[in-house]
Symmetry: C2
Subunit: 489 residues, 2 copies
Amino acid sequence: MRCATRRGTSRSVSTTSTSSRRVHVVPAKVSRERHALGRGVGADIRLRRERGRIEWFAENTGFMWERARSLGQCLCSLRQIQKGLVGIAKGGTSAKGFGFGKMKYAESRRSQHAYKRKVLRGVIAVREQRCGLQQELGGILDDDAGARRLRRAHLDLKNNLSSQSSPVVLFGGSYGGMLAAWFRLKYPHVAIGALASSAPILQFDGLCSPYSFYDIVTRDFKSESENCYEVIKRSWKEMDDAINKGVGIRELKRAFNICNYEEMDVVPSLVENALVYAAMTDYPTPSNFLKPLPAHPVQKMCEAIDHPKTGNDTFSRLYGAVNIYYNYSGNVDCFALHDDDPHDTLYGWDWQSCSELLLAVGGVSNSSMFPPSPYNFTDQVADCQESNEGIPPKPHWITTEFGGFDIKRTLKRFGSNIIFFNGLRDPWSGGGVLESLSESLIAIAAHKGAHHVDLRFSTNEDPKWLTEIREKEVQIIKNWLTEYYRDSA
Amino acid sequence: MRCATRRGTSRSVSTTSTSSRRVHVVPAKVSRERHALGRGVGADIRLRRERGRIEWFAENTGFMWERARSLGQCLCSLRQIQKGLVGIAKGGTSAKGFGFGKMKYAESRRSQHAYKRKVLRGVIAVREQRCGLQQELGGILDDDAGARRLRRAHLDLKNNLSSQSSPVVLFGGSYGGMLAAWFRLKYPHVAIGALASSAPILQFDGLCSPYSFYDIVTRDFKSESENCYEVIKRSWKEMDDAINKGVGIRELKRAFNICNYEEMDVVPSLVENALVYAAMTDYPTPSNFLKPLPAHPVQKMCEAIDHPKTGNDTFSRLYGAVNIYYNYSGNVDCFALHDDDPHDTLYGWDWQSCSELLLAVGGVSNSSMFPPSPYNFTDQVADCQESNEGIPPKPHWITTEFGGFDIKRTLKRFGSNIIFFNGLRDPWSGGGVLESLSESLIAIAAHKGAHHVDLRFSTNEDPKWLTEIREKEVQIIKNWLTEYYRDSA
C-alpha cells in the first residue's frame, strides 16, 4: 500500500494560509479558490445546473453492458450515484436505446436542512432493456429511509429476475467506484462483488498526499517531453503578467480564442482545466467522455507545444495544446469556462465534495508544472463552509463510516470480492488502492491507463494491455459467480 | 444452519387473526396481547420506567472483566446499547466500583419524530477504572451523527490508550450480542472482532420459526419431567376457569400469593413470566440476573411441581414452582407483575422491539406447554403501531440493513472474527447462529447453556462444559489478537 499504511489521523497539511485548490473527480472545474487564476463559475451558472444526464455515464461504461451477457447476467449500474438524485422520472427513454430514466437534483435546494438530509440518499433507477427486464437498484449509504428503498429495490430486482438468489455485481467508476466498493463492504447480502474502477477511497482525511493529483498530471505531461513540461511551467507567470497589463488581457484572450462574454482573467483556468482533464481522460483511443478527444490527448497536446504550427512563443504553443482539448471537433468558435461542464454535474458535485465527501486534495508541489500552492486543511474546510451556504463539511465522515486508516490490516481478513482498478496516468490514482489487500480484494494498476479506462466500450484499436486487463476483470468476476453458484448448490 | 438457509422473504405466518405474544429478549414481560392471560403493564407503569442501570448489565458480564487482563487488553463493553441512551452523566460512579455513568432515556419522548430519529443512536460511556483508564466507546448503527460520535469515541479510546493501533474487541449478550456482531460487520476498521453471545440475529423477518421461543421453554421443562410438562400444560385452563368464577379469582390470588393491589387476572401472566424467565436464566450456578435464583431453576421448579410440599392440586404444585422464581430469597411478601422488571428496562425495550427491532416471535404451537396461539405477522405489526403511539414498525429494517437471508452463503466468504455463542436451553437460541459460517465466524452451542451464560462471572461451582467453552472463547480471541499484532508488524 503506497500511502494507506499510515496510522492515526495526523495530516500532511501545510501551516501556510494559502487556500488550496478544489479538485473534482469527474468532471472537474476551474479551481475557484485560486484567485490568481481567476474566478470562473458564478452564481448564475450554478442556478442553471440543476439537472444531470445518467445516459452520459452509461455511454461511458460500455464494459459493463458488453460483458453482461458473457457473464450470463443482467447487471445493474450503481455507477455515479450522485447526491440528490431523488426524483426520478422512470418513463424517460434516451435516443441511445438504453432507456434510462431522467434524473433530477432534489428541488428542495433552498431548504438547507432538507437538502443536507438528502445527501447520499441518491437512487438511480436503471431500466436495462437489453435483458428484456426492468430492473431497479437503489444505492444508499447512510440513510435509514434509503436503506428501506435499497431493500425494496433489491426485492424488485430479485422478483423481476424471477429468482430470489440471482447474484448482483456492482460496477462503478470514479465516485461511483467508491460507492461500489463501500456498498459491497456494507451490504454483502445485497451484492456479491464490486468492480471499483479509479475509486480514490484513500484520498480522505490525510490518508494519501493532497499533492498527488497535480503531481500525477505533471508526471503525465513530463513523460511526453521535458520541453512540454517546461513550457507549461513557465506559462503561468507569462499569463499573470499579461493579465496585469491592460493591453495584455486582450492579447491573451485573442491568443487563446476566448469568447468575448467571458471574464477577462479566465485564461489560466481554461488552460489548467484542459491540462487536468486531458490527463484524466488520456485514453489510448479517441473518446468523447468530457470532450471529443483524439487518442493519447496528452501526447497530442505536448506535440502541439513542442512543434507549434503557428508562432514559437509560449502562448502560441499553449494555444495549440488547448485547442486540441477544447476544439478537437473543429466546430467550436470560441472557448468558454461553461463548456467545461457540458453534462451539468458540477452543481451536485460541488455540494457533495464540500459536505460528506471532502477529498483532501488540491495542493500543488514546487516540482509541479502548475503554480505551487500548499495544501491547507483549515482553509479547505472554511472555503467549503462558505461555498455550501454556511453548512460545515464533515472532513472525517468517510473514514468514520468506511474506514481507510490501516486499510491493509483492516481488510486483510475481512471482506471479499472487490476489484480496485487504477490507471496510473489518472491523477486520482494517487488516492486509489494500488496493492491487493487480500486474495479477493484485488488491485489492478495499469501503467498506461487513465480514469476508469477499463469501463469504456471496447474498440478495435484497444491496446493489448487494456484488452488483457478487461479479460482479467471478467475472469475474476466469473470466479465470483462460479463460487456463488457452488455455494448455493 | 438450522433455519437460516431459507431463501427469499416468504414468512411462516399464520393466516388466523389471533394476536401473537410479544416476547422480550431480556428482560421479558407479560405478553399484553394475549387478553386471555390478562393485561399486566399499564400506562402508569410505563411512565415510571424511564431510567435503566448500566451497572446491572456490567455485573452480569463478568467474563469480560475477568479476562481483560489475561488477554493483555483493556476491553470496553458494547453490551446492551439500548435505544435512546443519549444523555449520559459521565461523572456517575456506582457503589460497585466499576464507575459507569448513569444512563437516561431521551427526554424528548413526547416529540415522536425526534424520538424516532434517536432510536439506535445509543451511546454508552464506559469508564473502565480497573485498567486505570477512562475509555469511551460509542456504538451507533444507523445514524450519521452517531457515526461521528463513534469515530470520536474511537479516537478518544485510542488516545487514552496512548496507542492508535490498539485492537478493540466487542463483547455483547442478547440484544447487545446482536449489536456486537453487526458492529463488527459494519465497522471492521473500529473493532477487530466480537463475541456475540445469545444473539438472535435470525429471529427477524421470517428467517426462523416464530414458534421456537415457546417451544424451547417447553422443551426445557419437559426435559426435567413429563409430569412437570403435563401439570403446566393443564394449569392454564384451570386458571381461566377460576378467573371466570368470582370466588375462584380470590382463591387463585391467595393460592399464588398475589399482592392485593394487583389486577384480578394477573396470575396466568405471573406464572408464564416465571416459567419463561427461569428457562432463559437456567444457569448451572446460583444467579441474580433477573431474580435471585438457585442453580438449575427449571429443574428446581419441576421438582416443586412433581413433589409438592403442600397440597397435591395443580395450583399448589404450580405455586411451589412460581415461589422459587419470585421468592427464592424468602423475603418477598407477595408477588406482583411490576417485580418482573426490577431493572427498569422495559420502557425502552418496548419501543425498540416494536420499531426497528421487530422480532418475529411469540407464536405458541399446539405441542407447547403454553396455551396455543398462532403467530400472525399482520397483527404483530398492527399491535406495535398502536403500542408505539401510531408510529409503524419497520419489520424488514434489520434484514435490509444487516442481512440474514442466506446468511451462510453471504458470510461464507465475507467478514471474520465473530463468535456466536448460544445456550440451547435459552429460548432465544431458536434465532441464533448455531452453525459456523466460516473458519472465523464461529458458532459455539452449549446443550446445557442458557441465555449468555458464558458471559457471567466465573464461580468455583461452574461445570466443566462451561469452563471449557469460556476457555475456547478466550483462545479464539487470543488468536485474533495474535493475528492482529502479526499483521501490524
